[in-house]
Point group: C2
Chain length 235, copies 2
DNA sequence: TAGTGGTCTAGACCACGGT
DNA sequence: CCGTGGTCTAGACCACTAG
């Protein structure tokens, strides 16, 4: 796959961005520069840039150049508002259950209609906080076979998806969500430090990735009273 | 804009699909066919197909052809599960307030941070039901200037977005959401026929469209107990 | 005016799916 | 085998941005 020229350029530039050689707002070399550097034609260079644009790493500005995006363009990911914005370091992630191998994904999972159940999957659970305020409980399951040795992996910047991207070069390619407003049960309420019976936003997600073997199932429970859940999408 | 060759092909094919000349699952003419028909090169034909693919109208199958997708690929739109699936005709939309010209968008609107307020905008409100069960209240605002004469327009298949696409050739290009789990207030509860204080999912949306003048603001209130809200996204 | 990305031509060869 | 979409070359001209 990596013998494709445009993929090579695409991955080369993606690495430069991820390594921080190009920062947010920086302009990448022009398409013509890359043509010279890699001895390719405009068409191929453009294809690489187009892909990076589709993946949300850059935005192309007619007449100016291609600029590294401030945040990766949304992938339809739902994010708690304040998490990405709050760069001040007041966002904390508390690991409730370190990644462990479990025998199965909870069968009540909403997206498991007609799909084979996961066996031998990795599970981990985290609590997201803004300052001292718990905002979201996050439970994740995914097949162990796809990410061998993950339980020994250190998270990159505390981010699961960044870890996938940088350490495994796996990108999220799709997601399905189900959203429900529910009364918080006792354990959820305790973790979120809210009263039992308060409304919580329950989000069930199935993520597809660039590795067909890796599908990620997540269950989120959010206290949206102070920090609503946000989501943005651009073509 | 329509003098661009690839745009012409793109719109031509889109019309054929929308008119039902090509049905879901049908294969469009091959890229080479279109090259002959329109006297263009592969590059241009491919660009048209690529755009249609990005917009979710078709999927390209290597070695086989380009097939009309069953449903438009998700645009990050949140949809009530059962609405798109329920083809049996048990989905009903009740207009609570017909489109009317109002003086302003409610200023408490969540996405109005730092943006100029809308004046002279169209407002309409609908209640979505599955069978007899009210599931979602939907309130919409958008600038009147962008869609002159909209108050006289008949909805295509009862769908606002289909109407935009077919009658105005405007596509949704992006959206921002804010989601909250809340207690239903009295009026919301009454419309949704649930008890006051039940949890409802409150979604605030700002839609961007292919017409820079047209921005749509929506407020949704959903009873998710029976029909959760769904959302899917694919690169 | 120089440099950027956007559109387009006229080819070529490859990888995949079905006959 | 043929037709499909996927990659790629080597050019050209246009539209936009900025000094």
């Amino acid at each position: 796959m990596a013998d494709l020229k445009y993929k090579q350029i695409q991955n080369f530039l993606k690495e430069q961005i991820q390594k921080g050689i190009y920062h947010t707002g920086d302009f990448l070399p022009s398409e013509n520069d890359l043509c010279e550097q890699f001895k390719i034609t405009r068409t191929t260079a453009r294809k690489a840039f187009d892909e990076l644009s589709k993946e949300g790493f850059i935005e192309k500005l007619h007449g100016k150049g291609s600029r590294v995006r401030e945040r990766r363009k949304s992938l339809g990911l739902l994010t708690v508002k304040g998490f990405s914005e709050a760069v001040g370091g007041n966002v904390q992630t508390e690991m409730i259950k370190e990644p462990v191998l479990v025998k199965s994904c909870p069968h009540e999972f909403l997206h498991n209609k007609g799909e084979q159940h996961l066996t031998d999957c990795i599970f981990f659970e985290r609590l997201r906080k803004v300052g001292d305020l718990p905002v979201m409980i996050e439970k994740n399951w995914f097949s162990e076979s796809a990410l061998k040795g993950f339980t020994q992996t250190e998270f990159v910047d505390g981010s699961f998806f960044k870890t996938l991207s940088r350490n495994y070069r796996i990108e999220i390619t799709g997601s399905e969500h189900e959203l429900r407003a529910e009364f918080a049960d006792a354990t959820t309420a305790a973790l979120l430090k809210i009263r039992e019976g308060s409304p919580v936003l329950h989000i069930s997600i199935k993520f597809s990735t660039s590795n067909p073997e890796l599908v990620i199932y997540s269950e989120l429970y959010c206290n949206t009273s102070r920090y609503p859940v946000g989501n943005s999408y651009f073509i």
